[in-house]
């Protein structure tokens, strides 16, 4: 036990140290692109951790998680759009303009994504199993087509941002600063999630994944617990979306396409479901694999597909499980 625990601490510490030092490694190698690449990795890691809260801990197999990622991104995009066009976001009942204030915009992105996940979760959680997978997929598709049809905001072409949202003191336009900002958010979110899953709340949620009926007969209002979990995950994805919009300075409905949800699920699975470090490793591995394979072959998908199947069939515990030799879900 002690050995396993040590290994776990070691891996968590080593990954943290690696992410902390990465900008230094990049400048030593003279490759500024690495910072950009790893900023994306951090952002997807954040999204994957939030997805794992519902997949791995809550047992809610959502195939529509990207809906909240996209919502967060679009909050940033739409508010920036009104600044760029110098128009009002709302003229009635009160006058609201766009904004490029990061604190305000990101907070709104999180709140609005949480609101959307509350709405979608409240309806979807009435179903379970395959129906739940399908209804979350359907809601994500609905939002996808909604954004495609929003002509004022570029429709299918999306919105190109002219600059990142601004923070006082901190220079978000600088790639290294932005990288550390994303790292900070990831660490905070992982920490909060850690507290969450080890709380009373977390035990109920995990209990419901193991045996829904038992938890229900014990008198827990499981529906409400699951809904709160779903909303927290949605908020996390919304934050990741807002950061992504800033990193790439671009939003489009493509962010809400169902295959994007599939990619996030792959990250969780690849890294190790039901762990908090796993999804981070998974996001890193998948994005690096994509970078790496696409340089060598245009047909990299033909390799990724079978690789994925092999991981599902034979390496279910993911990278984290392999590294720690630990069973999933026994934290």
């Amino acid at each position: 036990m002690r050995f396993i625990k040590n290994r776990r601490t070691l891996i968590t510490g080593a990954s943290f140290l690696f992410f902390l030092l990465l900008p230094l490694i990049a400048s030593a190698l003279g490759d500024a692109y690495l910072v950009t690449l790893f900023t994306r990795i951090l952002i997807y890691a954040l999204a994957a951790v939030s997805l794992d809260l519902i997949l791995g801990y809550g047992g809610m197999n959502s195939l529509g998680h990207t809906a909240f990622f996209g919502t967060g991104a679009y909050v940033v995009g739409i508010l920036a759009f009104h600044i760029q066009e110098e128009t009002l976001f709302l003229s009635w009942p009160i006058e609201l303009s766009g904004s490029s204030n990061a604190i305000l915009v990101w907070l709104l992105a999180v709140l609005f994504s949480a609101f959307m996940s509350g709405l979608i979760g409240a309806l979807s959680l009435r179903t379970t199993g395959i129906q739940f997978i399908m209804i979350t997929l359907a809601f994500a598709q609905m939002l996808y087509y909604l954004f495609v049809s929003l002509e004022a905001y570029g429709g299918d072409d999306g919105i190109s941002l002219w600059a990142r949202n601004k923070l006082p003191i901190f220079d978000t336009a600088d790639d290294t600063s932005f990288y550390y900002l994303c790292l900070g958010f990831l660490v905070i979110f992982v920490f909060l999630s850690y507290r969450l899953v080890h709380s009373h709340f977390g035990r109920v949620i995990r209990g419901a994944k193991q045996n829904l009926q038992r938890m229900q007969s014990l008198g827990f209002p499981i529906y409400r617990y699951q809904l709160v979990c779903f909303i927290i995950a949605g908020a996390g994805a919304g934050l990741a979306g807002a950061l992504m919009a800033n990193q790439s300075e671009f939003v489009s409905p493509g962010l809400l396409h169902w295959t994007h949800s599939g990619e996030m699920m792959i990250m969780v699975l690849l890294g190790g479901m039901g762990t908090l470090i796993g999804p981070i490793l998974g996001a890193t591995a998948l994005l690096l694999l994509e970078e790496f394979l696409s340089v060598y072959t245009e047909h990299w998908m033909a390799f990724l597909g079978p690789f994925l199947i092999i991981v599902v069939l034979f390496a279910k515990r993911g990278l984290y499980g392999l590294l720690t030799g630990k069973e999933v879900n026994d934290e």
């Binding site: 190109s160 671009f250 489009s252 962010l255 690096l288 990278l319």
Partner: protein
Amino acid sequence: MKRFLLIMIVTLAVLFVSSPVYSADAVKIGMVTTLSTKAGYLGEDIRDGFKLAINQSSGKLGGVSVELLVDDDTRKPGKGKQIADRFIKRDGVKIMTGIVFSNVAMAVVPKVVRDGVIYVSPNAGPSALAGKQCHKNYFNTAWQNDNLHEATGSYVNEAGYENVYILAPNYPAGKDALAGFKRFYKGNIAGEVYTKLGQSDYAAELAALRAAKPDAVFFFLPGGMGINFIKQYAQAGLNKSIPLTGPAFSFDERLLGAVGEAAVGVINGSQWSADLDNPANKQFVAAFRKAYGRTPTLYASQGYDTALAIGAALKAVNGDISDMDAFRSALKKAEFASVRGNFKFGSNQHPVQDIYVRKVVKGADGKYTNVIHKKAFTNHVDAYASQCKY
């Protein structure tokens, strides 16, 4: 398990040391284009056309050694942006080209030209980049997006059609297409329909179209959507009674192979055709057929012209691109023999060129192709040039 772990780690490690090594003196040109997805053949033709120009002068453009870096944006704007980032930050690229789709261009181009990179578009020509958001570092060697629709509109107008049914997907380029058509077509609109992007079955639209009894149809449905539409149009028996028109994007030579007989006789607007009678074009079509075993499409011709344009500018500055101002002015002169005949850049650095309408025919070899039907415009300038202020 152990082995699996090992493979993963080795993979990641290899990635870190795998920054490819290039020869130091060659000028690097970064090509972000669409090679995968069902629209992948467009990027493939642009790339092959571009490469043909390089190979014809054994690795050089304008007498200067060039290194072409190509990557696939998978038609996703975010991915395109990522690749552009890598070309600029890792490879130090100063000249970029290749983007096929306007939405990818709108995500990538404004940022890279602000960062001091020269971007020469071989295909996408969104209106914003031709007008309000034009930039001194942005050049377009293909067309402004509306041009081919305008040419078709002008032809339909002159041919005396009075009641035309128009149709495009529900996205910005679709709206622009119909606006471009209506800029030159003055008759009545029998119906204006926006379909779902990526839609495959047009039975409902075709039924409504038949009921509206138009005397001609104009449609803009790029890629697979167009194939479906033309096939279903013929199956509904409409091609016998109502003539079909559109821009060249649904009638390139590779797509015609998938449509077959159903497209014969269709009129489409294009700035280039394989049968254009000038020496540069004859040489290009023959060389392309020899190199790749297929007839070039307009995309290939645009890729080839882009390479020639960059080559001419490289020649003028002797391969020295440290002085960007000199390179930019050299590029603007467009001193190359375009395969489409007359070519020069207008005030917004978009082409001023002749545009034709072509007709789809079955060639002597049994393959379907286009022949020039009529010239629609001479030295056509796009509608947004006046809005462009540097």
